[in-house]
């Protein structure tokens, strides 16, 4: 592995373990890169070869996952690593849930004095829609919470969002 590849590989491993917003990640990697360059230069001034100097600078910084974990612990992040607000995926299913509950309440109020067969079917559809939207909202909420420790759960949240959007555009019931 060449000297530059050694640094690039280290930075790649730090970057992949970082769970911070995009701007913070860019800044962290830039600072670490500069730190490695400064450290290697200082060791070379002390007589180390470039390869040795880079190795020493890297070992002084610590393991990539440990360095990334320190950055990840710097506080609660309002956005995921792509910079998208963390709670955004919850919005569509929640809006759908509120709308479906609204329709259900409206149907109970306005159809209270006797339902026709069609009205009963409509109300059942509203109920089914509200339950489905509720499940999707909870799924998005649960996934967002789990994504704090395991970012792979973001896909779960976005899947719930996609299903909610699909229900809004093409209401199945």
């Amino acid at each position: 592995m060449s000297d530059d590849e050694q640094i690039s590989s280290y930075l790649r491993r730090v970057r992949s373990a970082l769970r911070v917003p995009r701007e913070q990640r860019r800044r962290a990697v830039e600072e670490i890169r500069n730190h490695l360059d400064d450290g290697a230069a200082a060791h070379m001034r002390s007589g180390a070869t470039r390869e040795q100097a880079i190795g020493l600078a890297i070992s002084e910084l610590g393991r990539p996952d440990t360095v990334a974990a320190e950055f990840n612990d710097t506080g609660a992040h309002g956005s995921d690593s792509t910079g998208v607000p963390r709670w955004l995926p919850l919005l569509p299913p929640l809006l759908l849930f509120v709308a479906r509950i609204g329709l259900l309440v409206w149907s109970v109020i306005w159809m209270a004095d006797g339902w026709t067969l069609g009205e009963r079917a409509t109300q059942q559809a509203y109920l089914l829609g509200a339950v489905t939207a509720g499940v999707l909202s909870y799924g998005a909420y649960f996934s967002i919470k789990r994504a704090q420790s395991d970012p792979a759960w973001r896909w779960g949240a976005w899947t719930c969002t996609s299903l909610a959007l699909w229900m809004i555009v093409f209401p199945p019931f």
Partner: protein, 102 residues
Amino acid sequence: MRGHVGMLLLAALASGPAHGYALSAELRRRSGGRLAIVEGSLYPALHRLEAAGLVASSTEDIDGRRRRRYELTADGKAALKEDMRSWEMFKACVDDVLREIP
């Protein structure tokens, strides 16, 4: 040591603005090499201090590289004074306890 990284960084910055590497070198120099901050925790600590408003950072281009320079804010100077006062008190308490060891 980990709990004091913030205070040590504020103390190092009290001499004037500096880049991250210069700060760790300054801490090593002042402690005669005995105090080696784990360098991987240096920048997260600086970010925490910045988020708390105790340091401010700015970027500058040096030899084609974008470098970030940190400096103490007024709140940072006040926090450093408070940290130093707490440290002196803690040190005096420990000294008092140790003094009575037979």
